[in-house]
Amino acid sequence: MRADPRALRFGAAVTTLVLAAVLVTGSVWPLAAQAVVFALGLAGRSPYGMVFRTLVKSAPKVTEDARPPRFAQGVGLAFAVAGLAGFVAGITPLALGATAAALLAAFLNAAFGLCLGCETYLLIRRLLPAATWEVHQ
């Protein structure tokens, strides 16, 4: 499966705004919504990507492998769930810390095109050699 890099960048920018809103307002709801978006992104059905495709009709000049960004959405989901746990349990440092980590990754992707989530894959495999992750094309 191929992905439109412009849609990925757009999604990262929206994610950055949503996660910043979570931190500024202290509200759990944008984080819960973002967690759902991460889960859909992991499944290859990012709502932000769909918004981009309704706004921009032109075909991308280049496409890229869809698997790395999908894996990164899964990493984002893990941090969002940790943040939600922080909210639910009333552990403010966990709620803010996990959300800030996801914000950092989303910002690096939006502003610099770096995929921090993708790079965790090899580190996870180094720590857990059995943790193979098959994403079907």
């Binding site: 500024v24 698997r67 349990a89 803010l96």
Partner: protein
């Protein structure tokens, strides 16, 4: 026992966390863009503990290039790996006696640990006997690979062997 709540009273803390995160991200991004793909000299490490600074044909599972070998570590979840593969394949086609070997990092975690590879792509430049002379994390530019080769490998022999290039299928 704290009760479940939809709001945390973060006050100004949340704003500071956002600003600190964006500042940290900017710093990381700028450093990354500057360092990404830059060839670092590894020849000085040879005097070290003598481990992990050499890759033999046996360790790689394929013959070394007669003049140099470009070893690329890749994973499936790696955006710049494909472009890096193209750059290195171009260089190995351009420079006689230079082999390009791509290694699936997941299937060679032994080498990944031994060489302390944290990111993909990581590119190693080996001299004819397998000593690691250069190393780059991230996608290297073609010109930088050519420069690294020029500094690292002996000049071409008139009877130099044919170009060797091994690449695995789509990862």
């Amino acid at each position: 026992m704290p009760s479940a709540r939809a709001w945390l009273h973060v006050g100004m803390t949340g704003v500071w966390v956002v600003l600190a995160t964006l500042a940290l991200g900017t710093g990381i991004g700028v450093v990354r863009l500057r360092r990404d793909g830059r060839m670092r000299d590894m020849s000085g490490d040879r005097a070290g503990d003598g481990r992990g600074d050499r890759l033999t044909a046996e360790a790689l599972g394929v013959p070394l290039g007669p003049r140099a070998t470009l070893v690329q570590f890749s994973t499936a979840f790696c955006q710049p790996c494909r472009a890096t593969r193209r750059v290195l394949a171009d260089v190995s086609a351009l420079v006689p006696g230079v082999a390009h070997v791509e290694i699936d990092a997941e299937s060679r975690l032994d080498l990944v640990r031994e060489l302390d590879i944290l990111r993909t792509p990581t590119v190693l430049v080996l001299d004819p006997s397998g000593n690691i002379v250069k190393r780059a994390s991230g996608q290297p530019r073609k010109a930088d690979v050519l420069t690294a080769l020029a500094a690292a490998v002996p000049p071409a022999q008139p009877d130099s062997e044919t170009i060797t290039s091994q690449e695995p299928d789509e990862m």
